[in-house]
Symmetry: C2
Subunit: 350 residues, 2 copies
């Protein structure tokens, strides 16, 4: 199955539906879902069937186009604006979501500005919406390749890279962000090994990162998140390489919970700590990380393991999905535009 | 069920069997097992049905006594020595195991030294073995109380304590080590909250620590291990308080994997990092932590979640059960003999 698996797309447009690979079923089952309404897209984002900051941006944009496709001509603007709003509320931390929806809103606004609500222009507007969504998707593919190309010189032949969560092909429309760097290095003939934090509570590292690396024949070892510092101590890690869900102007960045802990440990062991993301992940409206809203997810993600209750009644659960890594811990931010080193201020924008 | 639950003993002597609370079934089911042979005791230790450095020392000592009880008079010395050897090989990291077995061996050797292999003395030797095992168990109870008493002044009214794995009543024959400090502080009228790392891969924090705290009406919140540093950053943790499986003369200490990561994060946030253990956990034969053997456990602990395979075939797994916290990160070691502050050299022995 390997060659096909490597071609799988986390999110795509089928011609009539938003087609996603249902990531909640991996690695046991490879099943695609055709989402036929913006509500189904919103549910899939909220339920993490499609996840990863760039991928949810793409899925949401396609969801807006879908709202257009399915709407009557009379209700078109309303339907589309409603879809933008509802998709925007699915997850708060990744900025790519509001960035992609902002572009879709721009299409609506510019269209309405030019033509008003003229019904006979509806087919044209639908086409413009789908065109913009497909463009966002294609751009994401291209950005991923560019991130890989920009980042790969940071990895040396023989390096072992520690990663957290999944910032791979499954998190984007393309070949990934952090993992794009690994793929590009491997393509250049470098021997790279990956250590994947399993990434509690939803195990994206074990289920997704390990799966996509195995499918590309890259050596990967899964560890408990809490073992990462111990491996660094044993000099078994050459760098930490993660994605990002939102980056502030000063380089503070939000990523999957546990990233901050890794960043502290990496600095303690003088191991470089890199984050890779498309420029759309940079939120220029934020001076620093204190303005980033960190999503708290449901208790059941920790309370139940398989079908077994593992946290007893009467005990509380705190389940932040992300944390914020202060820029002082970040050795470099790799984007499609290049590799930015500290100080980040003034270098991440524009 | 609360009052009874608080009285439950993780390991006890039933009069004819080693009675343990099967911790693999918690928190869903409270089931006791009567272990009727040293082989059953060894299996229970290896399978983590009874776990925690002090508790496995007690269980092993009782297992040796059981070997004596069940042996013919002719084979007594052989049976007992064989049980000591086999129980000693069950788990490598906790020193309490070899410490307790060393005491049992001492009983055999002193008896054989005095009386030779005289068969008519067999009942006496059996009694001496059981007596020593029961003494180890009772001492452990007393040591736990003493640890609590010594440590409680370190906790202030209103403090939130972060702990990892289970160093509570379930890890000892008594009220615990790290949690004994919490219990003693609560008994003194201090309001203490606990944050429990769930503790992958086996979730002793979620399943065991949360369970015993709830049963004692102490407020506890379970988090993913990787979220601990993020909580420290938010100033939601006043101190870290864990147990230990082996402590070297210089204060380096082995404990559940993830302890090292917590220690780094605690120092980064200037939060005190305490370890509590009975003096039998201190291994005076070791100058420092480099000599501590860290147990690696099976891959299936990470590969399978409930009945679901979460790490794909083709991916490796590395599963160290412990790590070693260098003494430089340890603010104090709390034992039954007192609270030791750095430098530890020369203060942990004798």
């Amino acid at each position: 199955v390997k060659p096909e698996v490597a071609q799988l797309r986390a999110v795509d447009w089928s011609g009539r539906a938003v087609r996603i690979l249902d990531q909640t079923l991996l690695p046991g089952e490879v099943r695609f879902l055709d989402l036929l309404s913006p509500e189904e897209v919103a549910e899939a984002i909220r339920g993490l069937r499609v996840r990863g900051a760039p991928a949810i941006g793409v899925a949401a944009a396609l969801g807006v186009a879908l709202a257009g496709e399915r709407s009557s001509e009379a209700a078109l603007t309303d339907s589309v604006m409603r879809a933008i709003e509802s998709l925007g509320s699915t997850r708060p931390t990744a900025v790519n979501l509001s960035w992609a929806l902002g572009r879709m809103r721009g299409v609506v606004e510019s269209f309405v500005g030019k033509h008003g609500g003229a019904r006979d222009r509806a087919p044209e507007m639908k086409q413009a919406l789908l065109g913009e969504a497909l463009l966002i998707m294609e751009e994401d593919r291209a950005l991923c390749s560019k991130i890989g190309e920009n980042g790969e010189p940071l990895l040396e032949d023989g390096h072992t890279v520690l990663t957290h969560c999944n910032a791979g092909a499954l998190a984007t429309a393309g070949m990934g962000t952090a993992l794009a760097v690994v793929y590009a290095a491997v393509e250049k003939g470098k021997r790279i090994k990956v250590i994947a934090d399993e990434t509690r509570p939803l195990l994206q590292g074990a289920r997704l990162t390990a799966w996509e690396l195995v499918s590309r024949d890259i050596e990967v070892t899964v560890i408990c998140d809490s073992a990462a510092a111990w491996l660094m101590k044993q000099r078994r890690v050459d760098c930490v390489l993660i994605g990002a869900d939102r980056v502030a102007r000063n380089g503070d960045l939000a990523n999957k919970v546990g990233s901050y802990s890794l960043a502290i440990a990496a600095r303690e062991h003088q191991i470089p700590f890199y984050s890779a993301c498309p420029h759309s992940t940079i939120d220029l409206s934020l001076a620093n990380g204190s303005g980033i809203q960190v999503e708290e997810r449901g208790e059941e993600e920790l309370r139940v393991l398989g079908s077994r209750v593992v946290v007893p009644d009467g005990a509380g659960v705190y389940n932040p999905a992300f944390d914020v890594v202060p820029h002082a811990y970040v050795s470099a931010i790799i984007t499609d535009r290049g590799v930015v080193r500290p100080p980040y201020e003034g270098k991440l924008g524009g």
